[in-house]
């Protein structure tokens, strides 16, 4: 993990410098400043999932208190290599504006609709708008192609919590972190060949492991890396506020 020390502030008086906190995962609940709200500030009620730093336990109240670990649990959907943004959200749906709550929901309903017919199981069942697969397991270079933020947004809006891929394309990874819509994790092994769509999996962030309950196997996940502090803070805006880069909101 890196970079707290490499953040510097320009001479511009708009930005105040502050001492940079040691980077370590924060386990407190941090209001996710990037969650989409309607114009009057009311959080869209249809959000099912809490923000990425809030532990997603299997207990009833997932908006839990301080817990030492984050977990994701649910069915997994498996895709291969080089799943590009056109497959994640075909371009014809990009007229939907993600910062508009109604259109945000509609975007979600089209998530992964661009996958070819070789994927016999749909990510979202016909006549549904949400997915039953909380976790996507992918091969290499997930999210390649366009810079469209609609891609991680569509996945998050559909109800996906995390992606575990062999590797990511840069802009998609960055957008996932910036929006906080899905947690982009990297596996050490090629999980897309180990898991099948419909397997029940649990991801334990602190232990950095994925457990496939259906096959009984466990796998190691890679550390979150440089963008850990940004993810922990809750996205780029929260991170910038926390480090004094921009003023806090009142």
């Amino acid at each position: 993990m890196v970079t707290a020390s490499s953040i510097s502030f320009g001479a511009n008086s708009t930005f105040t410098s502050s001492s940079i906190p040691k980077t370590k995962p924060l386990f407190n609940i941090i209001p996710h400043s990037l969650k989409f709200t309607t114009g009057n500030g009311r959080a869209a009620v249809t959000f099912q999932r809490p923000v990425s730093v809030i532990p997603k336990a299997t207990s009833a109240d997932s908006r839990a208190t301080k817990e030492p670990s984050r977990t994701f649990h649910g069915l997994c959907y498996v895709v291969g290599d080089n799943i590009d943004t056109d497959q994640i959200i075909p371009a014809e749906y990009l007229t939907l504006v993600p910062s508009n709550p109604d259109e945000y929901e509609k975007l979600g309903s089209y998530a992964l609709i661009g996958l070819p017919a070789t994927y016999t199981t749909r990510f979202i069942d016909e006549n549904e708008t949400k997915t039953k697969y909380k976790i996507i397991i992918a091969g290499g270079n997930f999210g390649c192609g366009s810079s469209r933020e609609h891609a991680p947004v569509a996945l998050g809006a559909a109800g996906c919590s995390a992606v575990v891929a062999e590797s990511y394309a840069r802009i998609f990874f960055r957008n996932s972190v910036a929006t906080g819509e899905i947690y982009p994790l990297e596996s050490e092994a090629r999980l897309c060949e180990e898991c099948s769509t419909g397997d029940v999996v649990t991801i334990e962030m602190a232990e950095r492991r994925l457990i496939n309950h259906t096959t009984g196997k466990e796998y190691k996940l890679k550390p979150i890396g440089d963008l850990g502090p940004v993810i922990d803070a809750g996205g780029i805006f929260a991170y910038a506020r926390k480090t004094g880069m921009i003023a806090s909101r009142n």
């Binding site: 890196v2 970079t3 490499s6 953040i7 510097s8 502030f9 320009g10 001479a11 708009t14 930005f15 400043s33 990037l34 989409f36 080089n82 590009d84 056109d86 497959q87 075909p90 371009a91 014809e92 990009l94 007229t95 939907l96 504006v97 993600p98 910062s99 508009n100 259109e103 661009g114 996958l115 070819p116 017919a117 290499g140 270079n141 390649c144 192609g145 366009s146 810079s147 469209r148 933020e149 609609h150 590797s167 990511y168 394309a169 840069r170 802009i171 960055r174 957008n175 910036a178 929006t179 440089d226 940004v230 996205g235 780029i236 805006f237 991170y239 910038a240 880069m245 921009i246 909101r249």
Partner: protein, 511 residues
């Protein structure tokens, strides 16, 4: 001072001994010397030409003592006001230009307002360029509404550069409208050496042709930049591509980049900068350099750069009066890897369905029957791309065998297509040659069907068919239909294919 021809110092680990076969292939049958660095694929001839550079832990330097830096590192250094940095560092960078368009603008503005307040003002009304270009000539209501959203924001914020369009029925009736954002940015003088240009579009990397750092970002990052003029970026290491040799007259920059992507794969440059140097590159025009840098993202690249030189300065002469300061890689800068290509040995290429790295020789695909040809987009819809296509049609003198769609990238390109004389034609314009060849009439300038778009988009692939296209991506469904098959190619190859109805090597007509 152009340092684009940097010979590796004798003490460098660049291997130039043919006998050192353990390091790379340089057989007479191969067209190029190559260095593959696929990390996971099992392959026999995959090693670095240059010993992998370990990132060293450099002690902090003081005063004006600097370590050697690459072009991209120098841009980061200046933009972040840090005299010293290394690949891997995360730094806050000052942005010179932020571009957005009709697809991502509304979302970016939404985030900007939510985070900075309904009455917030953008950080600099002159550094933001708003270019509607993606879904313009359509009856899709949301698409049309998105252009209105751009307009409302621009009026409210008094944005200086907004290339508006209101009359969708007649693009020429819109004096401000330009067309495809990346081409408009160049043509309007917003690309300058040494600067940082961000855009809410993956092909923003096109601007690297001007020796600047240019990359694509999402709505949230853009919303952040709108308010602050800064972005948090990780300094990328640089892959260097040395292209030498005289470019054969049947090759274009599109072939060069398809060659490179085919070599390093769609993830070969992830998080890395791609620097293009060498005698071939120096002789490329600005538009050809733009084509080269445009598809850097298809290799996963963070950005691409061509060092600025006389060609760059000449192009910029009548386009910008803002001062700029080009930077260049130091002689002793560290590159992650170096790849060398002898361009004189290259042949026209295509990228077969369904990946930009699915490289094949055009002549080896001559049995592939096609249904249509598409010439357009930021990759292959510039003036020179149309001149190139016209050259092939002129050489043939025959008519196309399949529907051939022409979508000039910008108004200016459209004008050029209708006014510029094609060399060797006795004064005919591209448009005349296209008409004689039976191509479709050049369409209104926009991104068009490159990415499919709303169902009524001109030239969209609404049924499964085979298309040779001068665009940049051919993943399933890219141009509309999931079962569509797209062969990415240069304008020469596209035009040649149109004439035969099969994927065709342009040498059939150019030699």
């Amino acid at each position: 001072m152009a340092s684009s021809v940097i010979s590796p110092a004798p003490t460098s680990s660049f291997i130039n001994n043919k006998k050192d076969l353990g390091s790379f292939c340089f057989s007479s049958t191969s067209q190029f010397s190559v260095n593959k660095c696929k990390k996971s694929a099992v392959s026999k001839k995959i090693v670095s030409v240059m010993a992998p550079q370990q990132s060293e832990r450099r002690p902090a330097t003081t005063g004006s003592v600097k370590n050697a830096m690459t072009l991209t590192e120098k841009i980061f250094s200046r933009a972040s006001e840090k005299p010293q940095l290394s690949p891997g560092d995360n730094v806050w960078v000052n942005v010179d230009i932020l571009m957005t368009h009709d697809v991502c603008g509304p979302g970016s503005f939404g985030i900007f307002k939510k985070e900075f307040g309904e009455n917030a003002k953008v950080w600099d009304r002159e550094k933001i360029v708003i270019i509607p270009d993606h879904y313009i000539f359509t009856s899709d209501e949301r698409a049309n509404r998105n252009v209105d959203i751009l307009r409302d924001f621009c009026m409210e914020q008094n944005i200086k550069y907004f290339y508006d369009i209101k009359d969708l029925g007649n693009f020429k009736a819109n004096p401000d409208y330009k067309g495809v954002c990346h081409i408009a940015l160049a043509q309007e003088g917003h690309c300058r050496p040494g600067e940082v240009l961000l855009g809410t579009d993956s092909h923003t990397c096109t601007a690297g042709a001007f020796g600047q750092f240019a990359t694509g970002i999402g709505n949230t990052d853009a919303g952040f930049v709108l308010g602050t003029g800064k972005v948090l970026l990780k300094v990328p290491p640089t892959l260097r591509f040395v292209l030498d040799g005289e470019m054969p007259d049947y090759l274009l920059a599109k072939d060069l980049i398809l060659q490179i992507i085919g070599e390093i794969s769609v993830a070969g440059a992830t998080y890395k900068s791609m620097e293009f140097v060498g005698t071939t590159v120096e002789r490329l025009s600005m538009e050809e350099r733009m084509t080269l840098c445009n598809m850097v993202v298809e290799a996963g690249g963070k950005n691409g750069v061509v060092p600025a030189d006389g060609t760059t300065f000449k192009y910029l002469e009548d386009k910008t009066s803002l001062p700029y300061e080009p930077v260049y890689s130091d002689e002793k800068a560290s590159f992650l890897s170096e790849y060398r290509f002898d361009i004189s040995k290259l042949e026209p290429l295509v990228a077969k369905p369904h990946s930009p790295d699915n490289r094949a020789l055009a002549r080896e695909c001559k049995d592939v029957k096609i249904d249509r040809v598409y010439i357009g987009s930021c990759t292959g819809g510039k003036t020179e791309d149309f001149l190139a296509a016209a050259k092939v049609f002129l050489a043939s003198g025959k008519k196309v065998k399949v529907p051939t769609f022409l979508v000039p990238a910008t108004q200016k390109v459209w004008m050029d297509v209708y006014t510029l004389p094609v060399p060797g034609s006795g004064g005919k314009t591209c448009s005349q040659i296209f008409e004689e060849a039976g191509c479709d009439t050049p369409a209104s300038p926009s991104c068009g069907a490159c990415l499919g778009g709303p169902k009524d988009t001109y030239a969209r692939m609404n049924e499964p068919m085979v298309c040779v296209s001068t665009t940049n991506r051919n993943f399933p469904g890219r141009m509309g239909h999931k079962e569509g098959q797209i062969y990415l190619a240069s304008p020469y190859t596209a035009a040649a294919s149109a004439l035969t109805g099969y994927v065709t090597d342009p040498r059939e007509f150019l030699e």
